[in-house]
Amino acid sequence: MGLLAEHGGSGVPLSYLLARIMGRRAYLVTEWQRLLATADPLASLPPSPYRQAPDGGADEGLWGSLQQELAWVHRQMGRSLQAIFEPFFLTLELRTLFMALRLRSRGEEGRTLGSLLRFSLLCAPVKRLLREGDDLPAIMAGVGLHAAFLPDGGRALPEIMRRQGMRGCEEHLVDACLEHAAANRLHPAVAAFVIRLIDMENMVALAKQVRWRMGEPGFVAGGSIGVALLREAARDREGRLARRLMGRVLGGEADPAAPELVPLLAARLALALRRQGREPDGVGLILDYLWRRLAETRNLSLLLHGADLERETLGRELL
């Protein structure tokens, strides 16, 4: 039993899917700084049939069209390709799961929850649980039954939900999912992506620790830097080791207190994905497209909500 829905069949031929993705890729925004220089960046967006314009001040349409696109790519894949991309989709759908749980906990069930789950790749029993489950610990217990990557079969989830709340539960699930993916044999492009994603999580946790010293941070195993070394860097009060490790991940010297750490890490990841996209087997190209589509939606959401911010600040935050 997995958390993701299974779309049966052998899917479309890979060369067909790659051609369609390359066609869709042409609609992605590439010149963010040029867009930012215009008077109204959102109004100056190049037209695209695959991107829904922000509706008023809300970004639900943006994220909805991203979900729709991800679901379309997933449906086009055969079982074997779906299995290759499982860590990628699973990491994203865990975010959907917790967004749905937050909506439930705030009592916003009706239309918003429905539209969130409409194009979600979560399997039908989990979607049903999210719609009809009694309370959050009961829903988490049900989710745990489907989360095959959890070492204890998800038995600890309701307890984590009670003790640490939604945030603790989300961290536990995402970390376990990434650790499980990193420990398994994956396609080289997906494996490199997972390692960089873990590095990103760990570097952000390390930067927070160096800046704010909030107790022992939880690092994810399986990245390019071992957990023992990360813990040692987190204990170093001067932050010298943290700077060196960040320099190793980012290439060059890096400041753990720099505010643009996440965009820098994401830029390194995007660069690596673009390079992998040139590999002839197509997996890197699909991964690169999905990531760029995700980054585009995040950037548009940022432009929408950060309209009052200075352009320079926005420019630093864009992926």
Binding site: V12, P13, S15, Y16, L17, A19, R20, G23, R24
Partner: protein, 70 residues
């Protein structure tokens, strides 16, 4: 015996070229279908690209004819 060998050589010349053409067209065809789904205005280009591997089997046929009749 010589005739058998000539016939076999001609069959190989046209058969291998046909297999190669079929393989190339299957790849170009599926990629072309994907391209057409996104950009229907490229149909002329796709038809030309799809026809290019045909030259392989035509040349194979010419070589087979030369083997048999020259």
């Amino acid at each position: 015996m010589e005739k058998v060998l000539l016939g076999f050589a001609a069959a190989l010349a046209v058969g291998l070229c046909a297999i190669a053409t079929g393989w190339a067209q299957s790849r170009i065809g599926s990629a072309g279908a994907g391209t057409l789904a996104e950009k229907p205005e490229l149909s002329g280009t796709i038809i030309i690209l799809l026809a290019i591997p045909e030259t392989m089997v035509i040349l194979g046929f010419v070589v087979a004819a030369m083997i048999l009749y020259l």
